[in-house]
Symmetry: C3
Subunit: 265 residues, 3 copies
């Protein structure tokens, strides 16, 4: 499947991507959106979130440092996004780590139509109702077949499910796409998972009629930037700088030459 | 007008600059203040903001991720700054994006004496009461003559008004100063606008008797650092690193050789 | 005293370090923990902090941008850490700057068993009840003998006290350890103090039976990374990138060759 047209759509349309996200990686989420050529805005006051989503092209929710107040703001923003018909991407960051986090994740899924649920293997397994061992916000071991978990959750919630890992799984609209780009160095940098979610929101915002494909294309572009960045760095912080700048400069030859996106089953 | 004496004053006096700012660029605001040789402190608890401002040389308010609680803390801090007679700089970040944001901006302007109102063209136009189209926190198109808007708002609010853009406008004390430094790469980095505000607060804190000139000098120094940084980088993240470090190392020859500050009307 | 075994323990055990910290340096605290090979998690909702600490190996509390709500969450997390018997490290960030900050610091010390109290000279002097002049979150002048202040506070609170400075003092369990690593460039980067606290929590989490030694070893490793980073950079932002990456790559030869840790009195 061609990937570059999805990046081109981001750069042409420059979608405004409203985030209600965590305080750890909030700058990085904004900067990766900007590096890909789109426009991030972060706002979480309950009095304005519906209006801010109302001028946006996509909504990204990330529960990394959730509080009850912020989750309530997320519900207002998601309802606004649903009314406008724009994609809502939820990063189930840390699901499985505490009962509160699990409960709030399900509350969000029940309160609004979420277009894309994204997490690592243990997070998505937890959202799907499986028992998992987690270690804070890092991925734990999962015994289940993640492709089946993703497909089943996508069918149940009528959405797209993204499971990140050495092989990313994108299940939605009856399809499964696999993205085999990326590099282990990504695990040494705080925030690569959060940034991937913001990228999915950005690409979905620019191509709202093809959400699973846009999600896979966004992941591929982000992870190709990571592959290029690893070659130009020798530690996680140098890698981070290169990641933003390789994303900024990504061209068609790089994207189509390096992408490893495949449709299965 | 000579610029370097204003930088020298910052480095000599090392003003403590109290910020109540947004969660996206809070580190960057602190680091740019420190890179210029001053001392940042971030604190937003209503129980302590008045005391913290009371030991400071300037107060910087930025509504980028405002909430009602944080705006109330801003009012307490601003009142403390007014009692002490130190400059208060307000970044009208995202004004025009939502009615709530506009309302809170005006509340702040009415609640205390704001020394400097700073924003991009669409934000300042909105604060001045004009109808504008905004795109989140990025500048939208403005039909009005921004110099006139700035002069009129400065007269109405008896303050200094700073409009950033390809040409920065500083209107205050019956004067208009223009700063023509900077580089388009700044628009590819999240937070350059917020950092510019923190720099204005820092320079005003070191030269509180010459606020318009200090604001223009601070903008010029920041944007000269940006010009130097662009030459040493090839993407927004490398640019960011160089921006901090060029600010840290900025010398008189660079400042006076590159500055493009002019007084008009 | 050998230092490298403490770093090895961090890399082997990969402790989960739960933080309730400030919004300025929250990313940097997480990344320095990850760069040393451990696993950071940031969470501050009162409904989940006890559970999150319950799966952790150490708890780091930092009052840099405290609010009353967040301090209440810190108390719940600290009580959970006490029940589980894992180390609790408190950064008295900005103690002395406002009466509120002093009061909340003492509240935390009284509400739970704090394993390590860490601050710069003026912060620790303030926690010990001395009158000090502070300048926001930067160290002020202290007339007292800091070694004696640290020993006395450690005895009174039955904990380990860490005072950072050109010479770091670690007083606890009837011992005093001095760490003479580090570089003045650290003072030009926002967050080195906060990161040092996170490193102490990480090393204490991996070696909970030798907290004073682990704290000194962690400080030494962090400051040796800083010494190496200074050689590879020429400004605070380049230094920051190298600091993370030198920590990531730190090897036994570097650690034991450069460490300047000594036991005194």
């Amino acid at each position: 499947m061609p990937i570059y047209p999805f990046l081109q759509a981001v750069r042409d349309k420059r979608p405004l991507v409203h985030h209600i996200t965590n305080w750890v990686t909030i700058f990085d989420c904004a900067q990766i959106v900007k590096s890909f050529g789109a426009s991030p805005v972060m706002a979480h006051a309950p009095e304005e979130v519906a209006d801010m989503t109302g001028i946006g092209a996509a909504l990204v929710l990330n529960i990394g440092t959730l509080t009850t107040e912020v989750v309530e703001a997320m519900k207002l923003a998601a309802a606004s996004a649903n009314r406008k018909g724009i994609p809502v991407v939820l990063d189930a960051c840390g699901a499985g780590a505490t009962p509160y986090r699990d409960r709030k994740t399900l509350e969000l899924l029940d309160a609004a139509k979420i277009t894309v649920i994204k997490g690592n293997g243990s997070e998505i397994a937890r959202v799907a109702g499986l028992a998992v061992e987690t270690k804070g916000v890092d991925a734990g071991e999962v015994a289940a077949d993640l492709r089946e978990v993703a497909k089943s959750l996508a069918a149940k919630r009528e959405c797209t499910v993204v499971v990140t890992g050495a092989e990313d799984i994108v299940a939605g609209a009856g399809k499964v796409l696999l993205v085999r780009n990326g590099h282990p160095m990504m695990a040494n940098l705080v925030g690569t998972g959060c940034m991937a979610t913001s990228v999915i929101g950005t690409f979905a915002g620019a191509s709202p009629d093809k959400v699973p494909e846009a999600a896979a294309a966004g992941l591929a572009c982000f992870e190709i930037a990571a592959e290029l960045a690893v070659q130009r760095s020798d530690g996680p912080a140098a890698f981070k700088q290169q990641l933003f700048d390789c994303a900024f400069k990504l061209d068609e030859r790089q994207v189509e030459g390096l992408q490893r996106v495949a449709a299965v089953g």
